[in-house]
Every structure is written in structure tokens, then in C-alpha cells.
Symmetry: none
Subunit: 530 residues, 2 copies
């Protein structure tokens, strides 16, 4: 029996943009829509053309693209009360968007019709039917039944009537929306089955649209598909209002890779999902979520020593899928919980795992440093430099001679603070002595270090410090305890972590800054002395 292909409907550009802190420019929207079309998403909802100029411009421009089988959808509400559909500004805007598909949203819940829209229950049914009928004269119509599950629970007969209005009027798919996100999987399954049965005479398809308020958006989507839905709506990375929408990445991966009866994207491989996830985060200017299922940086990261030992023997028994299937990869973390086998795995990247003597040396050094408070799981770049030092492939690009920072407030009043750094270092034969101010001492130190190096190594201008973390390693002695600083840096192609440990936070920060710069210079294979 061949797998049932479930259609994927992406609303990252519309419902996703309701997420806190999410805002897409026109160009962002065009870029994301094109990416989604490239990987074969069936429907891409582009926005809400009524009184939204950015969305109007989006539809105008995207129309010129050849997006293959991907259909762009414009989204809008049913016509206003006491108005013909053809006269309604929202209806007109939807038609003017000239999309191959229009998604019409209407009220399911009797209370919302009477108390939010202030219309009778019959008028609401008419609004749905007439709007769908009008739009179906122009393009395919998908009907989103807002608050479907809550509405069904409050008044099942009326909820089913709203679906019948849309179905009779020519909608091709009825999408049951769990707008508040609080429905449980068993309820979704049962209500989906009932709705499909009640509409059996209509020869119409069903879709599911969930939110993650109960941390069940993906489970609810799968439950609805198992009960007969054949379209899933959601967003990339699950971005969206409150707790977000169903993450289409997890939905697609579960349907195509874990459940036996379904395919998505017409059976195309899902090897672009990791790249797509990160592209959307970057475009939305959001932090990646390390622990995100399937595509997160930690999703196939292994830390416990026992596990890592076993993974080297039999990876597949410690991973629920092969990470390559979603374009992700296994990472072996170095940490206090891990034994020798973690280090072996990382050393493989340096092709030194067969050199027993070298491996022992690295292990001994890691143990020595971990006892001082170093931890390499978030500091892969520092670990890389450590291995280079031991294997004598580390080539210092500069020789730090001294640094100093001064910070304080001025007698004129607290809050009026300053931070200054001076740095003395050698690049080859040349001595550099520079100073810089900053928002704080680490910022000043970073600025002074770059100032002293930029002439020798112009590629440092591409690099920036993106995160700074501090921890007290052994808290029993308060501020005299060791301080661990983690710095994350990035350039156009990569993000890397470095570490420093000292009783002195400035010294710890300095170590991490120096490693960050040396890692960049090593990876660019910069010749010594610039």
C-alpha cells in the first residue's frame, strides 16, 4: 500500500509573524516563500492583504515567480455583516492578491458570532457561505474554521453547520483550527473523526491547524491526520503567537520518517530541514533553539560518557533517526560527565584518533583543565585550539604582552560609569600598543584587541562577539571562586565558542577573547604576521 501524502500548509509569514519579537520585511517574506517553494511545501500563506501594504506588495511580487507546485495563499476573514461579499473591502483585497489559493477564516463558536461579531448565528453562516462562494469564483478556497474545537465542544451542531456552509459554497478543504491551543490529542482525534463523518456527503478534504499552548501542537496534528485530516497547517520552527503554532519541521519529520502510512512533499527527502530552520531563524533575527527536535544543534549531541561509548559501537541504537535524514549531524560534547570515548570522537575530526600516545596526552590535559573549571561542551573552538597545541599544529598569530582595564564611576554620581582597556602585543616583529573604551571592561578589551590586530589581520572585521556568559565554577567561596567565561563569536559562515577560567573575571574573559580571535585566524589559515 502506498503512503498517503499529507499536504503541508505553511503560515510562517502570516500566523508566525504574530509571534512576540517576530517581524518580517517584504524582502524577508519573499526570500522565505521562495525557500519554502524550493523544498516543495504545498501551500505558502503569504499574509493578509486587507489594509496591509507590505502584504499587498508581497503578492504582487511573488506572482512573477515560478514556484513549481507550491501555491501561494492570501488570508482573510469572512465578509462583514450586512454587506454583499462582492462589496466587502476584505473580499476585494483577497481577489486582488491574485493568488492560486485563498484561505478564508470564519467563526465556529456560537458565542464568538453573537458576542464578538455581534451577528445572529444564521447571519454568521451566511457570511461564511457567501464569502466562500464569492472567492471560489476566483481561485481555490481553503476554509479555516477558527476555534473549531472549542466551538464544537460548546455547540457541536452549530460548529458542523459552519463547516457545511463553507463546503456547500465550494471550499476544497475545511481546516479545523485549535486557535487557543488547549485541546488534547484524544479530543482532536475524536472531533476530527466526527467532523469527517458528519460531512461525509460533501466529498471534501480536512485539514488541521494547531497551537502549542499545551505543548501538544505536534501530537495534535498527528492525531488529526490519523483520524483522517490530509492537510497540516503550521510554521517553520513553530514560531507564532503565545506558545507558537505546530512546528512543521517536527510534523513533517514525524509523518515522513516515523509513521509508516504517510509521506509529505510528494515523497521528497527532508534533508533541507535543518538548513531551512536556521534560515528562518536568521531571517527573523531570532536565536536558534539548541534543543529543537530534529534540527536543533543539540538534537543529536551526546554528553554522558556511557552513551558516547555505546554510540561509537552502535550509533543507530542511541538515535531515533539518522540525523542526515533531516540534514542535521551528530555532535559529541566534551564534558565532566564524559569519559575517554567523547574525546576520541572529537579527535577523529583531527584524524588523530589512532595515535594512542597523543590521545592519552589530550585526555590528561582535558582532565587537568576540567579540574580547574574548564568545560569544553560549549567551547568547541577552544578545544580545537587545545588539540592543536598538543599536536603542535597551533601557530600563535600574535603574542600578548600585557593588558589592563580600568573601570569605575565618576565622583559626579553613580551610574556615570566608564571602562577603558590598554593592550600591548606583538605580531611578528611588530609591537602594538593600543587603548579603547567600551560599555564595560570586556567590551573595551575586545575593542582594544581588535584595534591592535586589525592592520595585520583585516579578516577580523567580519567577526563579531554574539554572546557572553559567566559562571562561578565553585560557588563555595563567593567572589574568590573560579569564574568561567564563555564567549560565542560568529562570522558569515560559522558560530564558535571559546572559554576562559580564572579567579579574575577579566583574565577569564581575556583568555576566551584571545581564543576566539586565534580560532578565526586558524580557520582562515591566515599566515602569521598577517
Amino acid at each position: 500500500m502506498s503512503a498517503k501524502n499529507i499536504r503541508i500548509y505553511d503560515t510562517t509569514l502570516r500566523d508566525g509573524s504574530q509571534g512576540e519579537g517576530v517581524s518580517f520585511s517584504l524582502q524577508d517574506k519573499l526570500n522565505i516563500a521562495r525557500r519554502l517553494a524550493e523544498i516543495g511545501i504545498d501551500y505558502v500563506e503569504g499574509g493578509y492583504p486587507l489594509s496591509n501594504e507590505k502584504d499587498v506588495a508581497f503578492f504582487e511580487q511573488i506572482r512573477k515567480d515560478d514556484l513549481g507546485d507550491t501555491k501561494i495563499c492570501a488570508f482573510g476573514m469572512t465578509r462583514r455583516r450586512s454587506m454583499k461579499a462582492a462589496d466587502d473591502p476584505g473580499m476585494k483585497a483577497l481577489v486582488a492578491a491574485q493568488t492560486p489559493c485563498i484561505t478564508l477564516v470564519g467563526k465556529t463558536w456560537d458565542y464568538h458570532a453573537t458576542d464578538v461579531l455581534n451577528v445572529t448565528l444564521d447571519e454568521n453562516l451566511a457570511m461564511i457561505g457567501e464569502s466562500a462562494e464569492f472567492l471560489a469564483g476566483h481561485s481555490e478556497v481553503i476554509y479555516d474554521a477558527e476555534h473549531f474545537f472549542d466551538g464544537f465542544k460548546a455547540n457541536p451542531d452549530y460548529a458542523i453547520e459552519t463547516l457545511k456552509s463553507a463546503a456547500s459554497a465550494g471550499a476544497t478543504c475545511l481546516v479545523m483550527c485549535d486557535t487557543n491551543g488547549g485541546t488534547l490529542p484524544e479530543e482532536v482525534a475524536a472531533i476530527t473523526a466526527t467532523a469527517i463523518e458528519k460531512l461525509a456527503d460533501y466529498n471534501i478534504q480536512f485539514g488541521i491547524h494547531t497551537h502549542n499552548d499545551g505543548e501538544l501542537a505536534v501530537a495534535n496534528s498527528l492525531a488529526s491526520v490519523d483520524a483522517g485530516a490530509c492537510q497540516v497547517q503550521g510554521t517553520i520552527n513553530g514560531i507564532g503567537e503565545r506558545c507558537g503554532n505546530a512546528d512543521l519541521i517536527s510534523v513533517m519529520a514525524n509523518l515522513a520518517l516515523k509513521k509508516k502510512d504517510y509521506s509529505v512533499l510528494g515523497g521528497r527527502p527532508l534533508t533541507h530541514l535543518t538548513e531551512l530552520s536556521r534560515y528562518v531563524y536568521e531571517t527573523a533575527n531570532l536565536q536558534w533553539r539548541g534543543g529543537q527536535p530534529f534540527v536543533g544543534q543539540s538534537a543529536f549531541a551526546h554528553k554522558g560518557g556511557m552513551h558516547v561509548h555505546a554510540i561509537n559501537k552502535a550509533a543507530s541504537t542511541y538515535e531515533h533517526i539518522d540525523p542526515a535524514m533531516v540534514g542535521n549531524e551528530r555532535r559529541i560534547l566534551v564534558s565532566e560527565l564524559s569519559g575517554r570515548s567523547n574525546i576520541v570522537a572529537i579527535a577523529k575530526q583531527h584524524n588523530i584518533e589512532d595515535d594512542r600516545g597523543l590521545m592519552d596526552k589530550i585526555l590528561a590535559e582535558v582532565v587537568r583543565l576540567e579540574n580547574q573549571g574548564y568545560q569544553y561542551e560549549n567551547a568547541g573552538a577552544s578545544f580545537d585550539l587545545l588539540v592543536r597545541r598538543i599536536t603542535e599544529t597551533f601557530m600563535p598569530h600574535f603574542n600578548p604582552i600585557k593588558y589592563r582595564i580600568v573601570a569605575g564611576d565618576r565622583e559626579s554620581g553613580s551610574g556615570n560609569v566608564f571602562a577603558e582597556a590598554i593592550i600591548k602585543l606583538e605580531v611578528g616583529e611588530k609591537l602594538w600598543f593600543d587603548a579603547a573604551e567600551g560599555h564595560g571592561p570586556v567590551n573595551a578589551l575586545d575593542a582594544a584587541l581588535r584595534k591592535a590586530l586589525i592592520d595585520s589581520y583585516p579578516c577580523l572585521s567580519e567577526m563579531r562577539l554574539i554572546d557572553y556568559k559567566v559562571r562561578v565554577v565553585d560557588s563555595s567561596a563567593g567572589t574568590a571562586a573560579s569564574i568561567r567565561v564563555n564567549i560565542e563569536s560568529s562570522d558569515a559562515s560559522e558560530t564558535w565558542g571559546t572559554i576562559g577560567v580564572s579567579e579574575n573575571i577579566i583574565e577569564a574573559s581575556w583568555q576566551a577573547l584571545v581564543d576566539a580571535v586565534e580560532y578565526k585566524l586558524h580557520k582562515e589559515e591566515m599566515p602569521l604576521g598577517g
Copy 2:
């Protein structure tokens, strides 16, 4: 029919600490365990006593606490092959931890027994049975069946045999672990039901332990409970290896608030969940997840204009639960009204919660400070001082005039670092100007501050700094990132937290130090000027 109480087993301190970037100090572990006991978590797994000194110290110290009905659990593996349980170092360490409950983990999957442990299938059964029997002579034993679902799928008969070994030997609960996190809800339901049926003669309870690799950890936990499991293992905020464990917050909220047949925590309200979630994030030095179900800052945040209008008419129809039930609150994103319930709770300690005008003033000030990056969850002493300032019961014991720190290394070589601080302040009419050296700038600043104050306030000699934490927070200004410093101080009778926020880490530390000292002087009711 009364609700079935599902026992909650927290493994934040053990499995949670396997998460990338998560590392708890001894004090962190003690603090979290006490919080978990306060809200009534049934079991708190503290760690792995074998060859882990921090965990050994944890068990030694927590033993002295009265934790009510909460049971602390020590975690460890079955005895080694070819060794008596009584002679095994891991078994001895578990017994030495003297916990009311021991959680024993063993292999379910035939392949892991033969190819990872390198033992016969019978020897693995003996290792499980003999270990459980030995431990059951000392305390309650919970048996964690590692890779239960994958093992069951590979060899169901053998997987059931492993459970029977543990059950016959005196374990009180068999916990089915989805160690790789890839099992689907329908599989969890079916396999749970089968396992319970196969062990029907044993009069034993079942538990579920899931991971989130398929974004289904919560759904899987609920599915197993519906199939008969009566214990759920997970972590606060779902922290843990790879994609994390089941988030106990979502599990508890769904079980107690959404599903009709269950209760958790013996029916206690869940109003502390939001506070607990943030406390664990802060202690682990992790970013909060805004979109986290139930307890995230965005979980009840409303952005769309239509919704906000409707929410004012009928909040309950736009929210899946009342946010107050989990200690969270609605946020309308135009006006950032956060923290009110927390503030009311804390204000009660000052007996001012009935003064509406004063409460509004405090609320406004907290909102202003939160926008700058202040957070009072871990900084009760700073909040106390804030309330004193607003209620005009704050009496400054000294007047800081200026401070300065100098830190760096000496040209003689890196690692040879220094930190010095000078401080100028007034106590009453008297001017003090002092300097001190320290291991780092904050230590030097602390030393100089005490030096300048000790003659006037000798009680400061009892006080010491016990923890120091630093975070980068987004500043609402959007210019440079702000640094948030939390300091924990203690004397013989109390531990208190203070906070400082600035772009400059030295200034932020200074604020927290000054608050720490002022709090001590206020609580001792030291007269001004000493």
C-alpha cells in the same frame, strides 16, 4: 469518582544536568531540591553518587533537611558483571547515599546487554534482579528500564523478562524509559498497556520517562498515563540531553488542569509553577523560553488587535486556561504589565498589600526596572530594599562617592594577574577612602567596601558572599547588551540575593554588592553611622 493522583518524579538534577550548557553547583542542587520539595514534588532525583563527589556531598547535606513527603532518590546502574551486588562500588555508593528511595537503571534491549555490556541475556537479568534485591534491603527501589520501548520493539519477550526480574526482586515501580525519545504516542499507549497486562500478577506500579526528540515527550507521558502509568518522570522546563526530557510543568498542568481523571501533587494548586520555572532557569543560568507552554512570558501574551478587543470582552474564550492557575499572567503587549502577582506576594511580607496606591507605585517601578533587565526572582533582598525605598523606610547606612577597579596581567607573563579596587564613601559625617586587592575585580571591590565599613558596622564580619552569577540580558534600549549580576550572600541565619544591572559588569556587581551590605544592615537594624 475521585481523581487518580499521578506521582511526579523530578530528574532535573540528574538527567536535566545532561543538557548542553547545564551545570549545577552543589548549592544550586540543594536550592532546587528544596524548592521542588516545597511545591510537593513526590520524588527528587539528586544525582549519581558513584565517583561524583558533588553528588555525594549533595546527599550528605540534603539528608539533614525536613522535606515533608518528598523523597530524595539516588540514581545508579545495575551491578557490574561477575560481581556480587554487595561488593559492587556502585551499589555501595547508592546505599551510602542513605536516601529514602533508590532508582536503579538497567538494560532492556537485548542488543545493549550483549553488545554494550558484553553480558549474556541471562546475566543481564541476574544483574537487574540481584541489584534490585540488594538495594530493596535498604530503601524503596524504583526500576528505570532503559530503552524500554526500543527494546520492546526489538524483543518484546526479553523486555518483559527484564521488568519481571526487577519486580520479583522488590522494586516498587517499573519505569518505562523512552531513552532515545523517538517513540510515537500510539506506540507508547499500546506498549504501556501490554507491559501492565504482562505484569498483572506482580501487583506493581508503572511509570513513564520520555524524551522530546520527536517533540512528543509530553504527549507520550500523557498517553502512558492514560494507559495506566501512575508515575511521570521528567525535568523542570524540560531541560536535558539532546532535545530534553518531558517538561514536568506541562505534564503537571495538562494532567491536573486539562484532563479530568487525574490530580498531581496530591491536589495542591499549581500556582507556583511559573515561579519555579524561572527559578530553575536562573539557577541553571539559562535563558527563559518566552513561548514555553503554561509558564512562558508569552504564553498568555496577546498581540493581534482583534484578539485584545475580544479578550476584554471574554478572556476565557481566548485562553485555554486561566493563567493564574499556573502562577502566570495575561500580558497585553501594548502595556507591559508583568509580575503583579509576584509583587503582591512579596509585598505581603511588608504588610502593604492592601495599600492600593503604594502597590501601584511599586508595580510601576518594577515594570520600569524590568524593562532595564532587572529580575527579582532570585533577588529578594534587592526587592526588599526597593519596597523600603518606595515606602520610605530605607535608611542608607553609607553614601558611596566613587569606586574604581584596575585589573590586568603583568608583563612578566600571562596568568600573573591582579585586581585592585579603591572606594570612597561616607558613613554619617565621616569620609572613608580605602583600597584592597582581590582575586578578581569583584572580590577586590567587596574587600574594599568591607574595609571602609567594618569600623562603623562590625556585624559585616559575619557576612560572606556565597555565589556570584552573571547574565547577558537584552536591553530594551537596543544599544549594547546589559549585564545582570546576581549575588548571593549569607550570614549564620540567612541567605539573601541581590541584583545589579548595567552595560558595565563592574557597575552591575557594585550595585549588587551595595544592596547585599545594605540588606544585612537593615535586617540587623543597625543604627545609622554604626
